[in-house]
Symmetry: C2
Subunit: 201 residues, 2 copies
């Protein structure tokens, strides 16, 4: 019996994901972003790399069949199912500093960066090692002419999910994102499941 | 007398850039990319961050007036002059592995990644610390509908340049890029100058 784990609103967690296991990240209510990080569990200096991944994929919009690469050009995760098809891999996790910049009138929050820092610290990963995250469900369209980007509400509806298969033993960091604009103005939980390959429910 | 430094084709270098100094990266022949990295000279764990920078700039195309941020949300460099207006900040430096992927029939080359690794090693910076670079003159248009990216020849012509002002003491890594597609199929040198602020020639 595989249980569904809950990441409460505006928080984060970290856990091991073994090679061959799948990780399903679920948006239970819709329009909620989840920032994902991955580190090689046996050598934490190997880390998910947006730049390597976008280079190999030749697109900024990753979905089923795309692979997420490390800074050493090794496949860390493969997207094996995706009911949304719009995620972001350009921007770093929201933080105290980005809240100060974008929401100067709101009470500041440590954001996904602070939540990931706290969750990854027991795994031996320092805040300075946090790179661009794979931001599940985050909707960042680009104007191809001007290059301007917008952070719009996610396209995900209640129950939508993205499923990854691990190509190596990993430490995963995962959040329920804390930034108003990224999440349609409200903060919701994220659900996830870790399952042996082939047993996804 | 400020001398112009030469980075020979398919090579790289690293040097200190003091707060307030300007760095001018020049494309002497046209259509030649130069990958740029920046590290806080006094704390090498602080490093240039594409994700923070694109988030604050709200565009993927950076030019005069834009600031390049660190992973700690501090300004490292500001673009103070730019005769081209098209640079890339999405992709990681080309490497032995990317040559293997994109050019399987060509003799492999260590690429900008290998050149930066070798140049930064004497400054105490390990290869795993190399993030997405600011790729001066690299021309990577995005299709806003599909997200697909292309690596096209640079828009730079002979003598074009981009000038940065340092907002902190930095270690800079800089290359003359080694990848065929990024450079219109030929490999040319890159020139650069370091000058005290206000003395640019």
């Amino acid at each position: 019996m595989i249980s569904t784990q809950v990441i409460p609103e505006r928080s984060g967690t970290a856990f091991r994901l073994a090679k061959g296991e799948t990780l399903t990240v679920i948006d239970p209510r819709g329009e909620q972003v989840s920032d994902l990080l991955a580190f090689n569990a046996h050598d934490l200096d190997e880390v998910i790399s947006s730049g390597r991944t976008l280079d190999y994929a030749e697109t900024i919009y990753l979905t089923t069949g795309h692979r997420l690469y490390s800074n050493r050009s090794q496949v860390m995760l493969e997207i094996v199912e995706d009911t949304v098809g719009r995620h972001d891999f350009l921007l770093t996790p929201c933080s105290y500093d980005t809240f100060h910049h974008f929401y100067p009138k709101l009470p500041p929050h440590r954001g996904c960066f602070g939540n990931l820092s706290a969750a990854l610290e027991p795994h031996g990963i320092a805040p300075d090692r946090i790179p661009v995250a794979f931001n599940c469900f985050m909707n960042v369209p680009i104007d191809g002419e001007t290059g301007k980007l917008k952070v719009l509400p996610p396209l995900s509806k209640a129950g939508d999910f993205i499923r990854f298969r691990a190509h190596m033993d990993l430490v995963i960091g995962l959040t329920a994102c804390s930034a108003p604009d990224s999440n349609g103005g409200t903060f919701k939980p994220i659900h996830y499941r870790v399952e042996p390959m082939g047993s996804e429910s």
